[in-house]
């Protein structure tokens, strides 16, 4: 027995060791198998990458800049040909690289930062198993002045916005001139001057530069003269370019108002627009244009439209921060405000307005007779706020509707104060509001009577139960008082 007891722990230990050993062998086997994972994944990854965007060939866009200024920045892009023959911009999955020895850098979004010294480099884009390269010259030539408004002749419709690429003259240390798009360093410093044919400042258009991209916003048909004023890095003087003539054409078919939430600009419309006091709704102006190929299309032109309102006491209007919609805020309950919008020359003067901030007038806007202009309008109702409850006190004691307040001493008068709680959680004393209707439903002329010339005040006549019904909009309150 003693021997058995002595042997038992060793047998148990052996068994445990065997189980542990067995487990360890299995773990080792799994680790061995895991370590054995192999296979060339490149082909399958590349195939899925190009197939996902249905690309069968790639290339750099024709307008890719090949001469870039030192210290400037530029965003490269890559275009692909889809299997059905459509050229498209490749949206992702591109690996960007520069030739060996390049001091300039490029990130994996194609954002290029030029070196501080001149160099010749190759930019390579790899997409799946496709690859394309382009030779780039990082040039130390210095900007002198803008010599061309855009690489191409632009057709700009009124009330539309058009991006453009100004062309500059650059001069290197040997006096050689390079004509190329204005770089990211200079484009943000250009002061654009827009004049009409009479040499006066024109309100037909304005130019905005954002994220190294210049955009012309047009407001009315007609010819404009554009000049670019910028400091020449070559001569270190302020240089004003020559005149660039630009026409703003009228291919506008129609204009209408829509809610800003509209997803289909073709069929959108504003019907029975309403807004509560201190609340806002947003509208957009939508234009239909005739395209060069004969087709037509709709576009949100809110930023380049002229907006007006007939009554600023009833509602206020303001363009949103991005100018893509007009916000209308209700001011006076149970009233109306008519919002008008126009594209083109209007009767109202806008000379004193900074049109780059949008044109929003305190008066209705209307098209100038005989001018290239279309307008639209819509009436917005400013609704009453709904009432969620009424609070009533009698002689400074709060009441509960239809629950009797039992007085111990007969008062001379009962003074009711009524407060409305509105749907926007605001409260207002409505005791003297003409739409609050008082009526004595119990004890009339026996217990209480209305005090002549006062609202909400009752003279106590004798003992008994007095009930006063208060109606305000859709809410009713029963003030019930037991008078001793």
């Amino acid at each position: 027995m003693a021997t058995r007891l002595l042997l038992a722990p060793s047998v148990w230990g052996f068994a445990m060791n065997f189980k542990t050993c067995n487990k360890l062998c299995l773990y080792a086997l799994f680790i061995f198998l895991a370590a054995c994972s192999s296979g060339d994944e490149t082909n399958l990854v590349n195939l899925h990458t190009v197939a996902d965007q249905d690309i069968v060939s790639i290339s750099f866009p024709a307008d890719t800049e090949t001469i870039l200024s030192i210290n400037s920045e530029y965003d490269f892009s890559l275009q692909g040909l889809t299997s059905n023959g459509v050229e498209t911009t490749i949206s992702g999955g591109i690996q960007w690289s520069l030739s060996d020895g390049a001091v300039s850098t490029i990130d994996q979004k194609g954002h290029f930062t030029a070196s501080a010294t001149a160099e010749l480099i190759t930019v390579t884009a790899e997409f799946g198993f496709f690859s394309d390269s382009i030779e780039i010259k990082v040039s130390s030539a210095k900007f002198d002045q803008v010599v061309q408004f855009d690489q191409n002749e632009l057709i700009i419709d009124m009330c539309r916005s058009q991006t453009f690429t100004p062309i500059g003259s650059y001069i290197d240390e040997n006096g050689n001139e390079e004509i190329r798009p204005v770089d990211s360093i200079t484009i943000n410093t250009i002061d654009w001057i827009i004049r009409d044919q009479d040499n006066n400042p024109s309100q037909r258009a304005h130019i905005e530069t954002l994220d190294n991209q210049a955009t012309l916003h047009s407001l009315a048909e007609g010819n404009i003269i554009i000049q670019a004023k910028a400091v020449s890095q070559y001569s270190n003087t302020e240089m004003t370019s020559g005149d660039f003539d630009q026409a703003i054409t009228n291919n506008l078919n129609s204009i209408k108002l829509c809610y800003s939430s509209a997803s289909d600009l073709t069929s959108c419309a504003v019907t029975n627009a309403s807004v509560k006091k201190d609340k806002s709704i947003s509208l957009i102006s939508v234009a239909n244009y005739q395209a060069l190929d004969g087709s037509d299309f709709y576009e949100n032109i809110s930023a380049n439209s002229k907006w007006g309102i007939d009554n600023t006491a009833n509602a206020s209007i303001a363009l949103s921060t991005d100018a893509q919609q007009l916000n209308i805020t209700g001011a006076t309950e149970a009233s109306n405000a008519t919002i008008s919008v126009a594209c083109g020359d209007i009767e109202q003067a806008i000379d004193g307005i900074d049109i780059s901030q949008g044109v929003v007038l305190d008066t209705p806007v209307s098209c100038l007779s005989g001018a290239s202009c279309l307008s639209a309008s819509s009436t917005v109702a400013i609704d009453l706020l709904s009432v969620t409850s009424l609070k009533v006190s009698a002689n400074n004691t709060n009441l509960t509707s239809a629950e009797a307040l039992i007085l111990s001493v007969r008062p001379v008068e009962i003074d009711l104060i009524t407060t409305a709680v509105f749907s926007d959680n605001t409260e207002a004393d409505i005791t003297s509001d003409t739409t609050l209707v008082y009526s004595i439903t119990q004890g009339k002329d026996v217990v209480i009577e209305e005090k002549a010339g006062f609202v909400g005040i009752y003279t106590v006549l004798g003992a008994g139960t007095a009930e006063i019904k208060l109606d305000f909009r859709d809410e009713t309150f029963y003030a019930l008082i037991e008078i001793p």
């Binding site: 370590a35 994972s37 296979g39 994944e41 899925h48």
Partner: protein
């Protein structure tokens, strides 16, 4: 490589369980939806999954052969898995329960064929550690026949994952 894997599997089976008494052999058949995942997109060829193995309490060992039923397309890309050979060890976590839960580990060899316009057709082979989970329940009227569900990661590489989901039947002899 495939022969080596099968040989290793057979050796593994023989060494570990040759002396085990009372083991039940079984076969299983299931349609299996595979998923080849890459960083940009994924494709899902359909497979027929045939398995042969044997079971002792808590443990199963099986050899799986899968073959293509239908290829999958991603735009112009056609992806097919003509063959998969795997060996799996399955640990039955709750053998007394009606619905049995399996932990699965093993090794797989997957062959993937692809074709794309303008590119020569290609075939790629992936070998790797596999793992997964399974659920199984016996039919009350035929206790030897089970309905089973498996999710198995056949290959988990640097950029590519290949997994299968199958729902099928297993029969114990």
């Amino acid at each position: 490589m495939k022969n080596t894997l099968i040989f290793k599997a057979c050796l593994f089976l023989a060494l570990f369980y040759s002396s085990t008494a009372g083991a039940d052999t079984f076969i299983a058949l299931a349609p299996s939806m595979s998923k080849i995942g890459t960083p940009s997109a994924s494709t899902r060829p359909l497979l027929a999954d045939f398995r042969l193995g044997y079971e002792i309490p808590h443990h199963q060992l099986e050899l799986a052969i899968m073959t293509s039923i239908e290829d999958d397309q991603l735009n112009q890309l056609t992806i097919d898995i003509p063959s998969v050979a795997s060996v799996f060890y399955r640990y039955i976590a709750n053998p007394k329960s009606d619905v049995k839960f399996h932990l699965i580990v093993g090794a797989s060899q997957i062959e993937v064929e692809s074709s794309y316009p303008g590119i020569a057709d290609s075939s790629d082979q992936f070998d790797g550690f596999s793992y997964g989970i399974g659920l199984e329940e016996a039919f009350r009227s035929i206790p030897d026949l089970k309905i089973k569900f498996d999710w198995i990661s056949l290959y988990d590489g640097d950029q590519i994952t290949i997994s299968t989901i199958s729902l099928g039947l297993r029969y114990e002899f």
